[in-house]
């Protein structure tokens, strides 16, 4: 009845349109969803499929011209030792960054979730949000300043008469190098710094849901703090850690700017993609390389879903 009353009053084109939308909610949903779905579907998915399609083409080694015929040759190239090393190196780095971020981030998240109250709650919240949202390049740049040979970190080691220690560390192959800013350790530190907030927020969200009484019960039943952590707190926080690791893992896999600015000359997947599509002009191989993080993330997400990590997002 009320619908009739509305349509009587709502004269004109807008009124009629409004009535039609009210009577047919399906049409309304369709009209609402059409622009965003069209934008993302055409521009984003369209481009993504164009890229995937290119990974099944190959490049003629002599002429450098792309041959538009279906082949798996380009994917086979990924398993060449030099390319496979790049993939392996990136995965190891992503795993190390994930473990490091969980170790550094857990105490911050735990304190913020369990003990911070009132003013301190706000300080911890903003204390994580600010670095999360502040400029990515500025964050990378600040580490270039810190790790430089004449920078603050070397200065601290020299002032504390620990220069010999730093030199001994840098002499270690693979993780060392001429100076921190051109070593794998430097790359690791920058990755850890830049992605750390992405790890803290989901852990905190998971820990906020752990009832206080559960930890007390564990203590009452005779568990030492370490045991409570191992058998009660950590299993409950694990979905949060996994949710955070999705970010740290995915972001490290795809980054090509950090290893380019701080790090050795050994390349990561992102740099390989960038180099092959740019100067080399080998778009099929670049596309095939780009598929690697997508596949790795698909597997990772599938495992994470089974662990219930998405409830903590």
């Amino acid at each position: 009845m009320s619908m009739q009353a509305v349509s009587d009053r709502g004269a004109g084109l807008f009124g009629r349109l409004s009535d039609t939308l009210w009577r047919r909610p399906g049409l309304l949903i369709f009209l609402l969803i059409l622009p965003p779905a069209a934008w993302l579907g055409i521009i984003y998915l369209g481009s993504l499929f164009a890229l995937l399609a290119q990974s099944f083409f190959s490049i003629d080694e002599f002429t450098g011209i792309i041959q538009y015929e279906f082949t798996l040759k380009t994917y086979a190239e990924l398993f060449r030792p030099s390319n496979f090393d790049i993939i392996l190196r990136t995965v190891v780095m992503a795993a190390a960054v994930t473990v490091g971020a969980a170790a550094v981030g857990f105490p911050v998240a735990y304190f913020a979730a369990r003990y911070a109250r009132g003013k301190w709650k706000a300080i911890f919240y903003l204390g994580v949000m600010m670095p999360l949202w502040s400029s990515y390049l500025v964050k990378v740049y600040s580490w270039k300043l810190i790790l430089a040979k004449e920078g603050i970190l070397n200065w601290m080691f020299e002032t504390l008469h620990l220069g010999w220690f730093l030199n001994a560390y840098l002499a270690i192959p693979v993780i060392g190098g001429n100076s921190l800013s051109v070593s794998a350790t430097g790359t690791f530190l920058v990755f850890l710094y830049v992605w750390l907030p992405f790890m803290i927020l989901p852990i905190q969200a998971a820990l906020e849901r752990v009832p206080h009484s559960m930890l007390e019960a564990s203590g009452d039943l005779g568990a030492r703090p370490a045991q409570t952590f191992r058998h009660v707190l950590f299993p409950l926080a694990l979905p949060g850690v996994i949710a955070g690791s999705i970010f740290t893992f995915s972001l490290t896999l795809g980054d090509y700017i950090i290893p380019q600015i701080v790090g050795s000359s050994r390349r990561f997947i992102g740099q390989a993609v960038y180099a092959y599509q740019g100067t080399a002009g080998n778009i099929p191989l670049a596309a095939a390389f780009a598929v690697v993080p997508i596949l790795l993330m698909a597997v990772y997400l599938w495992i994470a879903k089974r662990q219930g990590a998405f409830d903590a997002l």
């Binding site: 964050k139 710094y193 599509q277």
Partner: protein
């Protein structure tokens, strides 16, 4: 009770963690005033305000800043429209493909930026679209939708359906209901989402390197300086200004949504 006080070890670890996240950014503030212009020497040999004047007089910095502001503004507007429409549809009813739409919105930010970037670039290549202001906007709007969507969808769920029905019963049509009932309810969420989208776009570099061609947004300008440093002091000043500028929308978004989030938390 002792269990309400944090163990000392935890306090120290949490404090060190926070310090680790903030000291590097503060370091940039010191470097913006250093008199040294050839290296990253620490401690700074002296302090000066000279570089602020030098930076102020640089047309390339102003051009890059202006381009970034234009791109971020237009991308934010597009993201606001698309994100709100999407959130309205998804929060209203369960319809076929709802999960797919949510996934589609999140995908551009869930997959590494380089994949979004190279996809767009190869699509532009295939379609013979030359790089322009709009190719940058196209990329930015795509990954900004998710920020607006996330903020809006949470608020839409809280706007009760009976409010909308009451408005219609009182004789308002759909458009009036949207203007006078729904919009005031979701406006702070949209503002917060818009601010975050602006900050995201203003700072974006990975996708932009693939869609900008020869144009320089501010992050691209900084990247050039990072890869091939020419004038370190100017870079230091720009970095400091960028930090200050991006803090404003974050603080703004925080204060806009703070009250509502607390309410939601109490409801649990």
């Amino acid at each position: 009770m002792h269990s309400d006080r944090a163990p000392l070890g935890l306090k120290v670890a949490a404090g060190l963690g926070l310090a680790f996240m903030h000291l590097p950014i503060l370091l940039i503030f010191v470097y913006a005033f250093t008199t040294e212009d050839k290296s990253y020497q620490w401690p700074p040999p002296g302090l000066t305000l000279k570089w602020f004047a030098v930076t102020w007089g640089r047309p390339d910095v102003w051009q890059a800043l202006w381009l970034s502001v234009k791109v971020a503004s237009i991308s934010t507007v597009i993201a606001l429209v698309l994100g709100t429409l999407c959130a309205a549809a998804v929060s209203r009813t369960k319809f076929f493909g709802r999960e797919v739409i949510s996934l589609l919105v999140i995908l551009p930010i869930a997959l590494p930026g380089i994949i979004t970037g190279i996809s767009l670039r190869s699509a532009f290549n295939l379609a013979d679209i030359p790089f322009s202001f709009w190719t940058i906007v196209l990329g930015h709007a795509t990954f900004c939708v998710v920020v607006v969507y996330n903020n809006a969808v949470a608020r839409f769920r809280r706007v009760s359906g009976s409010l909308v029905e009451a408005s219609m019963d009182l004789g308002a049509n759909s458009f009036q209901t949207f203007r006078y009932v729904i919009l005031p309810n979701i406006s702070t969420a949209l503002l917060a989402g818009g601010m975050l989208a602006f900050a995201l776009s203003f700072d974006e570099v990975i996708v932009t390197t693939f869609t900008a061609g020869q144009q320089q947004t501010l992050p691209i300008w900084m990247l050039e300086e990072l890869v091939r440093p020419r004038e370190r002091p100017v870079t230091n000043v720009v970095a400091m200004v960028v930090v200050l500028v991006t803090f404003l929308p974050i603080l703004g978004a925080y204060y806009l949504t703070r009250g509502t989030d607390t309410v939601a938390g109490q409801g649990k």
